[in-house]
Amino acid sequence: MANRRIASRLVGTVSALAVALAAGAALAQQTTLRIFTGGQQRPDVMRQIVDVYQQRNPGVKVEIEVGGATSEQQQQYLNTVLSAKDTALDVVLIDVIRPAQWATQGWAEPLDGYLGAERDAVMARYLPAYREANVVDGKVMALPYFADAQFLYYRKDLLAKHGVEPPANWEALIEGARKVLAAEGNANLAGFQTAGAPIEGTVCTFLVPLWGAGGALVEGGRVNVATPAAQRALKLWSDMRAANVTPPNLAEIVTDRIRLNLQAGNLLYAMNWGYVWNRVENDADSQVKGRIGVVPLPGFVGGQPATCIGGWQLAVSAFSKSKEEAVKLVRFLSSPEVSKMQAIFASHLPVFPEVYDDAEVLKANPWFKDALPVVKTARSRPVSPRYPEVSDIIRTNVNAFLAGTKTAEQALGDMNGRLPRAMR
């Protein structure tokens, strides 16, 4: 009797254990990946895309964490999370300026080992600028999610009404804006806006006219902005202010505020990134649907136009506990299929040249037909592991100049004084 009872109990225990183990195995098959993205990089579109991935990979669940609206706010948060070697994030969407910093800090898992023999073939498919931006010291630190560059958005209806052509140079832009503003007499209508607040976008507000005037941040291996080209770059913005084409509070303007102003019908010209198109055409509160045109940014008379390269990359966190699965997700998100989805859902510029010619993509974004050459010739902001500091020096000084705290000479002199240490 006693033996039988023990035996039956044993059977019970063993079967309970077996059930528990089976459940454990089922749980182990279910991987949860957490991906970090910015509030301005259309997390809603990423959700749609990731849902497709989940359908195809039933064992994977993807959570999306949405960070701050601007690039530097996101990086500030990531600095603390990753300095603490936190394992919570598996995939992180990073700005095109970050891979060098991520490589030095050891935050990104190099992807070469995962790509294996395919590595060179995979990388060869991307636009050259993105292939270069994501390879640091010969290692693939991230894969591109979408490309970006700055364009000139303009009010088709207002330009047509007053017989003004989309400007080919800055001088023509100022002249056209003055004409339209004077004729409209609308106190709420501003002529032109670009980022002027101390944020990442303001770095491009400086670099675009600097490059346009034939200058560069580093010349002959030395940081030097005490140049006529840099003077001319800042003078463009003070001329626009003097002509009342930019509003007096340009030094408060952040990237997405420009989009909101354009969308509310309060802006004639905007210098902004690719995402704006989809919002002005599709947002319920847009007052300017069908009335916006997009052209490449102007240059100076007799000079070459320039634009800042942007775009967002997918890095696998070095502290992730499911790197294999994370890499698979990244490879899906960095595929021509997803590039096309993003182009249609969010007017995010593709990282594969062939997607620009896709009929459905062109139907959603007619201006993409002229966008490829712009993205191909867009220039990079300085590459440095200390990029946050480099950026801060440029943007605070440009912001001070726009606010009238510093003269052009002071702002450029202060940049010259501080940049060499940050770029050492």
């Binding site: 800090q105 050891g106 509070n249 592991p385 946050p388 606010a403 009238g404 004084g417 240490r421």
Partner: protein, 299 residues
């Protein structure tokens, strides 16, 4: 009988030390050790350029850089200006509020609530609220300015105006704390003194100068010390309102340290700046303590 303790007293002394140990250990862990680490890292190069695990010793290089760094001096000057403007500002406004709250109202809670609310509000919220007040197009301040027939002002992107706006927000936020401290002080002043003064024919003004203010001095000193120390650490309100802008005209020392360590991950230089700010705090506090001690010693 100092120095010659009986066995019982010696035992008690030992017990006393034993009971102090946990607190001492805790303090060592959360105060002494971090401050020590801060000092150590301020003598090393510890930034984005140094690969993980390497941190060369650089002696006083970080400090030398700080003393040659215009932005450090600018931030220090801004911090001191915030102290000099907002501390007296908060004390004057706080005193007014405390006197108001001390009046014999029949219903006291609305006044008390009004006193507590700014104090209880998270500081960043206060900063964000004031940022919207001072917005160029949507802000209510410019609504008033325009209604009065003037051009709208760029409150947050003109250096002088931005500084003024931030000061206003800080005074609003901090004067309620001062008022609470002073209100407690006011309520300890015996009524009889006022009654006696009234009998002697003292005016309202004389009563305030001769009774209220002298008897309130200890409370005012406490409020001043606390307010000065927190003013040296000013961070949240300018951070939320202007982000230190335009340029770096409203950037405080605490903001520069935050930027250096959190944004630039330059822990070496950030630590040196933090040590310097600690020194500034220590100097300010000791000045106050000295001053109050002298007052107490005086007959």
């Amino acid at each position: 009988m100092a120095g010659r303790l009986g066995p019982l007293e010696r035992g008690e002394r030992l017990l006393g030390f034993a009971m102090l140990t946990p607190a001492a250990l805790l303090l060592g862990l959360v105060v002494v050790y971090p401050v020590w680490r801060l000092l150590v890292s301020s003598f090393h190069q510890l930034d984005q350029g140094t690969r993980a695990g390497t941190a060369p010793f650089v002696g006083f290089e970080n400090y030398a850089y700080a003393f040659a760094d215009d932005r450090f001096w600018g931030a220090t000057l801004n911090t001191l200006l915030f102290v000099v403007i907002t501390v007296p500002g908060a004390v004057v406004v706080g005193l007014g509020l405390a006197l108001l709250a001390n009046l014999p109202f029949r219903v006291k809670w609305p006044v008390r609530l009004g006193l507590l609310l700014p104090w209880a509000l998270p500081v960043v919220f206060a900063g964000l609220i004031f940022r919207w007040f001072f917005e160029y197009r949507q802000g209510i301040v410019n609504d008033v300015v325009v209604a009065l027939g003037f051009e709208p002002l760029q409150w947050l992107s003109r250096p002088g105006l931005a500084f003024f706006a931030v000061c206003l927000a800080i005074v609003w936020k901090t004067s309620s704390f001062v008022a609470l401290v002073l209100l407690a002080g006011l309520q300890t002043i015996p009524r009889e003194l006022y009654e006696a003064a009234e009998v002697d024919g003292a005016t309202r003004w004389q009563r305030f100068w001769r009774i209220t203010l002298p008897l309130l001095r200890p409370a005012i000193v406490v409020a001043l010390i606390f307010r000065t120390i927190t003013a040296i650490q000013t961070f949240d309100i300018p951070y939320a309102m202007t982000g230190g802008g335009p340029g770096d005209s409203t950037e405080t020392l605490a903001m520069y340290i935050h930027k250096t360590t959190i944004d630039f991950l330059d822990f070496g230089y950030g630590s040196a700046l933090a040590v310097l700010m600690f020194a500034l705090s220590a100097v300010a506090t000791s000045v106050y303590l000295r001053h109050t001690r002298r007052r107490e010693d005086a007959p």
